[in-house]
């Protein structure tokens, strides 16, 4: 069964024609070539494939593309050159949040979502905000610090 799905990815209109059960992750990575979104676990556990869909942080490995008709989807490629995206990327670099880096694009998406909804989070709120994103390298402390740094450095940015 083929179907047509219309959605927006990083501001660009996309018309998908194909299997509605194909994973959003595969459409993003393979059909559209945005490889910044990573596949870590394939079951919505690790958060490496996190994207923002209609204002919510989701794991794209467990979302069929058929559920994306009319959706507005944002990946790391869609935020990294924005002021807010650059603020998080810089804070991650400065704060030592990045080691192997495989979880990091997803982690940046989680941080973006958190700060969009809570410009001045406590440490506990940051830990909660990235609790769906697994990192095997860092033990999380420096990621938490980097998100706090992004909140501080971005200040006014996040209140917009």
């Amino acid at each position: 069964m083929l179907s047509e799905v219309k959605f927006t990815l990083n501001g660009k209109k996309i018309i998908y024609q194909g299997d509605p059960l194909r994973r959003l992750l595969d459409v993003i990575r393979e059909d559209l070539g945005f490889t910044g979104t990573k596949e870590g676990c394939s079951e919505g556990e690790c958060g490496a494939c996190s994207v923002i869909k209609d204002g919510r942080l989701v794991t794209s490995c467990i979302i069929p593309i058929g559920a994306c008709n009319g959706s507005d989807i944002l990946t790391i490629e869609g935020i990294r050159d924005t002021e807010k995206g650059e603020c998080i990327v810089s804070a991650f670099a400065e704060g030592g949040a990045v080691q192997c880096g495989f979880c990091i694009p997803g982690m940046v998406m989680a941080a973006y979502y958190l700060l969009e909804n809570n410009p001045n989070p406590t440490e506990e709120e940051i830990r909660m905000g990235i609790s769906g994103n697994i990192c095997r390298c860092t033990g999380y402390d420096l990621i938490v610090d980097s998100i706090a740094l992004a909140a501080k450095k971005g200040a006014e940015l996040w209140k917009k």
């Binding site: 990575r29 945005f34 490889t35 910044g36 979104t37 990573k38 596949e39 870590g40 676990c41 394939s42 079951e43 556990e45 690790c46 490496a48 990946t75 790391i76 490629e77 990294r80 998080i88 990327v89 810089s90 991650f92 670099a93 400065e94 030592g96 949040a97 990045v98 080691q99 192997c100 880096g101 495989f102 979880c103 990091i104 694009p105 940046v108 440490e123 940051i126 830990r127 909660m128 990235i130 609790s131 769906g132 994103n133 697994i134 990192c135 095997r136 390298c137 860092t138 033990g139 999380y140 402390d141 420096l142 990621i143 938490v144």
Partner: protein, 715 residues
């Protein structure tokens, strides 16, 4: 970017590209006309292969097996020995053993074909646990020897054990065990093979590109120079990508020889969890001779579950034995290690490389002796801390000053250890635990000189200098550390130093990226090459290349395992505080304090990240990372049932570095990547034991296992 001291924090050179999602991992690469591969694996833990039924393959699809290995090739991967078959043929030794590689253009079709290949076995009884292996369950794996012993060694120090045990007024004996651990590098294993100018070219997620070449060339009977390995950005490894990439690249090489088109093989998480190497489960029997409340001797028998092939296990076992007395100087010791074969997926390198198992055992054993004697564990343990010049278990000596007493001062003060240790009475629900640990840096003894013969090369072009080594970045910060060492020595801005992920046709072999040796050994080589370049700067665009030289006067005999096993050890102290809900046995960790002596840090931010990550991996190992093998099958198959720590599981860590520059390391640095894994597990168990007033003899201890131990101990 400018900085004044080598240890000053700088921004990692790879941070932005990774955070922006621009770094290219092997899974992100697509080559023109690329085909895909799926592994077909054994579903039988031990038995004969009677029949392989392959459905009719559509045009463009191939099923590659051992029969595709050419006449002049051998069906073996050359890791340390040559026992691991690239493809199982006639018989299988474990679940997950590679039988064939299905190759073709469409992954949906490939999956369908994979699910429709039927293999008939004549099953035999498998040996799964260490005890099974010791008993040669199902018949010995080595009929000529009549047992399952892959490898063994022993070390002796001091007086004969019989004499010591005769003198003892008490003997404290117990068995301590550790479980499997899966690496869970967030990027699964993967590789691509293609042809370029008549050579086989690999793109791989790997720690050791030169290992791959050496390991697989024999499959086609070709020279290592006919194979080029290019490392891709590697999304975590922790030892899981030291030898294991050979298991992907070997079959890919055989397939490429037949198909001659680019082929990509990426494991999904379920494959990576069930069908990749793991940390060795261990069983250690410690027997300690006490006289007037003092230890006079220690006898330990250490068993590691090797699985069905040797891979690096003998070296892992050696390191286990060399660390089997932890940080302690015990007057007389007798340590025996055996690597036991079983019909399970082979175990291999994992951060710590055999040391964590014995350190957990000796540290927990020491705590139990202290409880038995009714003294505070730290009070008891600190009397045995080894000092500079004292004899190690291999009859060598500790060359450096041991700063553990200073480190204990920092940690006990920050954690308020002495007050809490008194106030939290056994079983009160609150507990504080403390451990000490060490890790020998780099290859054992003179291995760096005798076996590795590492090289490093620098190439100058105008005001830019390129580092050409085979050592890899896998997340540990090596790209930045290495550039910093070169920049600092040459007094150039770090932006003028180039380093690319290694391509074996373009760089010199600086040895594997393993054994906490990259900064300590390769960093030193780069420093020496840079010193030479600086001296000869007036000569213009020159190349400098240096080879490792072992310092004189530190003998090592690899046949008897005697001598100075390590020139520099890393040292650590970890303190963990917990609160246990006595109804549910849920453990909440409320404090973590650590101090580490790593010589001198090259970059404090990188080191900080390594410490934090290693400690959390170790706490996961102790508390929640349960991986069981039943009848040859792993019961935990994915990330939802093999659980690793999230950001909510452990609190912020207090972190301290003890300055103690190492004379033979670059800028005073020693190895540190593995050290930070080696001891927090024991501190956690100590804390939970005190909180519950009980003892544990194995890890991990998730709540259900705590429940069981409490019931058992109450009986």
């Amino acid at each position: 970017m400018s900085y004044t001291k080598i240890s000053d924090k700088i921004e990692r050179v790879d941070a932005r590209t990774k955070a922006r999602g621009e770094a290219m991992y092997v899974c992100d690469m697509t080559l023109p006309n690329m085909l895909y591969a799926y592994m077909v694996r054994s579903t039988c833990p031990r038995g004969k292969i009677l029949k392989i039924d392959v459905p009719n393959l559509p045009k463009g699809y191939k099923f590659i097996t051992a029969d595709d290995i050419p006449q002049k090739g051998n069906n073996e991967l050359w890791m340390i020995s040559k026992d691991w078959r690239a493809f199982a043929k006639d018989y299988v030794l474990y679940v997950g053993e590679t039988i064939g590689l299905l190759v073709g253009p469409d992954r949906t079709v490939l999956k369908y074909l994979r699910d429709n290949i039927h293999i008939e076995y004549e099953p035999e009884e498998p040996a799964v646990t260490i005890d099974d292996g010791i008993a040669s369950k199902g018949g010995p794996m080595f009929p000529e020897k009549g047992n399952n012993v892959f490898c063994s060694l022993h070390c002796e120090k001091g007086r004969p054990m019989e004499e010591v045990f005769r003198e003892a007024d008490e003997i404290f004996e117990e068995t301590l065990e550790t479980g499997y651990q899966e690496h869970v590098h967030l990027e699964t294993n993967g590789a691509i093979v293609t042809m370029e100018d008549g050579k086989f070219v690999f793109y791989a997620s790997a720690q050791c590109p030169f290992y791959i070449r050496k390991s697989i060339a024999g499959l086609l009977g070709i020279s290592t120079d006919d194979i080029v390995v290019r490392q891709c950005t590697t999304g975590g490894a922790f030892g899981g990508k030291e030898h294991f990439p050979d298991v992907l690249c070997g079959p890919l090489l055989v397939a490429e020889n037949v198909i001659r088109k680019p082929i990509k093989l990426i494991f999904d998480r379920e494959e990576d969890t069930q069908f990749s190497v793991k940390r060795h489960p261990s069983k250690c029997v410690y027997k300690t001779a006490l006289k007037d409340g003092k230890i006079i001797g220690m006898d330990a028998k250490v068993y590691y579950n090797v699985g069905a092939y040797l891979s690096s296990s003998f070296v892992v076992l050696q390191r286990g034995i060399f660390h089997a007395n932890g940080v302690y100087n015990i007057p007389s010791t007798h340590l025996v290690g055996e690597g036991i074969g079983t019909n399970t997926f082979p175990t291999c390198a994992f951060r710590g490389f055999g040391a964590p198992q014995t350190i957990f055992a000796v540290e927990t054993h020491m705590d139990h002796i202290a409880h038995h004697l009714g003294v505070d564990p730290l009070e008891f343990k600190k009397d045995y801390i080894i000092k500079q010049g004292e004899e190690t278990v291999t009859n060598g000596h500790i060359i450096e000053e041991v700063k553990l007493p200073e480190m204990l001062d920092v940690v006990t003060k920050e954690a308020d250890y002495w007050r809490k240790a008194k106030e939290y009475t056994p079983g009160c629900g609150k507990g504080i635990g403390i451990s000490m640990y060490l890790h020998g840096g780099a290859f054992t003894g003179n291995g760096e000189q005798a076996i590795i013969k590492a090289h490093a090369r620098l190439v100058r072009t105008g005001d830019r200098v390129r580092i050409e080594v085979g050592s890899t970045e896998m997340g540990q910060g090596f790209q930045t550390t290495l550039r910093k060492i070169a920049a600092n020595t040459l007094q150039l801005p770090i932006e003028n130093i180039d380093y690319n992920n290694p391509d074996t046709s373009k760089v010199v072999d600086s040895g594997p990226t393993a054994a906490s040796r990259s900064t300590m050994i390769v960093g030193k080589l780069v420093e020496r090459a840079a010193e030479e370049m600086k001296r000869r700067w007036d000569e213009g665009d020159i190349t400098t290349e240096v080879e490792y030289e072992h310092p004189e006067g530190y003998p090592w005999d690899q046949s008897t395992f005697r001598g100075d096993a390590y020139l520099g050890w890393g040292w650590g102290v970890a303190c963990v505080e917990v609160e246990v809900d006595k109804l549910t046995n849920e453990v909440k960790t409320v404090g973590i304090w650590t101090s580490h002596d790593i010589g001198h840090p090259i970059d404090e931010l990188i080191v900080h990240g390594q410490v934090n990550g290693g400690i959390i991996q170790s706490l996961g190992y102790a508390s929640m990372e349960k991986l069981e093998n039943k009848n040859g099958f792993f019961r935990q198959k994915r990330m939802s049932d093999y659980v690793i720590p999230t950001s909510m599981d452990f609190p912020r860590q207090f972190y301290h570095l003890q300055e103690n520059p190492y004379p033979w390391g670059p800028q005073g640095a020693k190895g540190m990547g593995e050290l930070v894994f080696n001891g927090a597990d024991a501190a956690y168990v100590d804390a939970v034991e005190r909180a519950l007033g009980t003892t544990f003899n194995s890890i991990p201890i998730p709540p259900e296992d705590i429940e069981e131990a409490l019931k058992k101990n109450a009986q």
